[in-house]
């Protein structure tokens, strides 16, 4: 890279509009840039803030909180797989009250925009956690984790069925009438679009896709599972094509007015653009943070230059922009 092109790109990138509207068009939630953290991949925010300023992010999507504190699952909780990793943490978290009292004010004091992530075993628990999260004025939006794969039985993955997913969203909406809500969906369904349709009709502002997909790894020598929980969530570049496909299907189904937070294996600026072209409004960085804790900042800083070099003046104009192919749905 020569000095001339760097200077040229730097000057031009100031004109690129990276802002994204996650409020469903009413301006209730506008992020300065589309890069957010994937829930569960950023802990409280303090850890990364020792390395770089977390306010540079579009928003911090926090780790899912539950009504009671949870210690999570036994170790080993992780196994690296080809271009991916399996994890089964089991929603270890300090509980919603501790999070709201301790971590939210700190994030707010750092100038970060905060998207809460809530989880529960029952519809009632979701409603209660939503209420307690809603008591904080510092929360900009709430992501409803309908799809954590590491729960005691698959019946608790609410997003595997449109009806149960919608039931949870209705309960959270009744507790938080004015809050932007995002339903986080699992790719482990035959058709994701109807689930997306159901949660939006139930009151979700938008959707987040995708959560990890269920996987498993066994040691060939010992016959032992590599993650203590046996089944575990697969993430990383290995699942990016699944994310692109799911986001595209959801965007086609829901149309341009429904915001989508896209995630799944994003590591580079072209990865971000790929998800935006598929239909993502904002893009979350997850597993890549584990490999390089600076990833999200690198993407937030590099996106404008990538766009300006190609003559784009805003990120939004690329959303959903994929050439039609012969059998386009």
């Amino acid at each position: 890279m020569t000095a001339t092109t760097t200077a040229g790109a730097g000057a031009a990138s100031a004109e690129v509009d990276l802002s994204v509207d996650l409020g469903g068009g009413n301006g209730a939630l506008v992020l300065p840039n589309p890069i957010v953290t994937a829930s569960g991949c950023f802990a409280s925010g303090r850890e990364i803030d020792t390395l770089w300023d977390v306010a540079e992010l579009g928003a911090v999507v926090a780790k899912s909180v539950t009504r009671e504190p949870r210690q999570g699952l036994p170790t080993p909780r992780m196994a690296e797989t080809p271009s991916g990793m399996l994890n089964a943490i089991g929603l270890q978290n300090p509980g919603v009250d501790t999070w709201v009292d301790r971590d939210v004010p700190w994030l707010a004091s750092r100038g970060a925009r905060i998207i809460a992530s809530i989880a529960g075993n029952t519809v009632e628990e979701f409603r209660e956690v939503a209420k307690r999260v809603g008591a904080s004025r510092d929360i900009a939006a709430v992501e409803i984790n309908l799809s954590c794969p590491n729960v005691s039985h698959r019946g608790l993955v609410f997003a595997t069925q449109a009806s149960t997913a919608a039931e949870v969203v209705r309960a959270v909406r009744s507790a938080l009438p004015a809050m932007p809500l995002f339903a986080k969906l699992t790719p482990d369904v035959t058709e994701i679009a109807p689930v997306g349709r159901a949660v939006v009709e139930a009151g979700a502002t938008g959707v987040s896709a995708i959560n990890t997909t269920l996987g498993m790894a066994i040691d060939a020598e010992t016959g032992r599972v590599k993650v203590a929980n046996g089944y575990a969530g697969l993430s990383g570049p290995a699942i990016r094509p699944m994310a692109v496909r799911a986001i595209h299907q959801l965007h086609v189904e829901l149309g341009p007015d429904v915001p989508i937070i896209g995630m799944g294996g994003v590591r580079t600026v072209p990865d971000v653009i790929e998800l935006v072209r598929a239909g993502a409004s904002a893009v979350a960085v997850g597993t890549a943070t584990f490999a390089d804790p600076f990833t999200a900042r690198t993407l937030a800083r590099g996106l404008g230059e990538w766009l300006s070099r190609r003559g784009f003046t805003s990120l939004a104009e690329l959303r959903g922009q994929v050439h039609r192919w012969p059998h386009h749905p």
């Binding site: 210690q71 909780r77 690296e80 994890n87 990383g236 584990f290 804790p293």
Partner: protein, 318 residues
Amino acid sequence: MSVQGRDVGPVAMTCVVVDRRRYGRYWGLTLSAPEIARRAAPGQFVNVAVEAPGTLLRRPFSIAGVSLSGQVAGTLDIVLDAHGPGTGALATIAPGANLDVLGPLGKAFPMPQRRVATLLVGGGYGAAPMYYLGGRLRAAGHRVNFLIGAADTQRIIDPITPKRMANQASFTTEDGSMGHRGRVTDLLADDLASTGAEVVYACGPNAMLAAVGAICEDLNVPCQVSVEEHMACGVGVCMTCVLPLRGRNDKVANRRVCIDGPVFSSTRIAWDESRWAEPAPATVDALVDADRDAVEVEATGDGSFRSGVRTVRPQEAR
């Protein structure tokens, strides 16, 4: 971040591999990393990015030593066992190559408040941070003794270093190829008595640490251990590397090894609530291997210790 005028906390650097050498079955790398070396303390670790097909995550390594003087402004040493694609790639990296390193990470061993005799217990490549700690303790005027154990001679890192540094250095191997035939726990009580050590530091497989901690507790000797757990991020965000720890009121909670540790007081660890309560396999090293996604890489047999270590340098290196 700065504490009492000293910069602490991790930095990300591109480091040049200055030297690579063989320690029996293991490999030692020396990296030029002045800023990390300046901030480091014994017990801390670095996270090294690897370029190997299909790998994604960095590999954590205890810091095995630092040097702030010499030809390169500041270097740090790591020791690795080539047991998978990531460590395999690092074991074959040529001096002169670049590595992306993040560190120093984690909490260091607490130093004794007054002058005491210490006993440093290392198992397998867990001996690596013990040599670093031994140097620091000696420089601070403490008496340093070593008890180093492994499955065989091939897995004892550079035995000259502890011999040179220590008032007393004992070795154990399970096959009897060096020192006492057996495990470090066979000698621990005797070595505590003969050295008069008032504090024990240990690093090695978790089963060994649990056993060492139990003996120390019986003998009322404080014991600091550096534990090993699968780690994805090394900076506290992934919640992968947790260990059950006793807090106040004996309440047990999962703590992150990467930022709350890896050094803990042994009495705080609730081993019985961790997976390490499972029956241990036959040998210490079998446990080390089962602990990883192990692909056995056999030592090629040219790594004996007759003359200390053998340094591997490629032709193009100066």
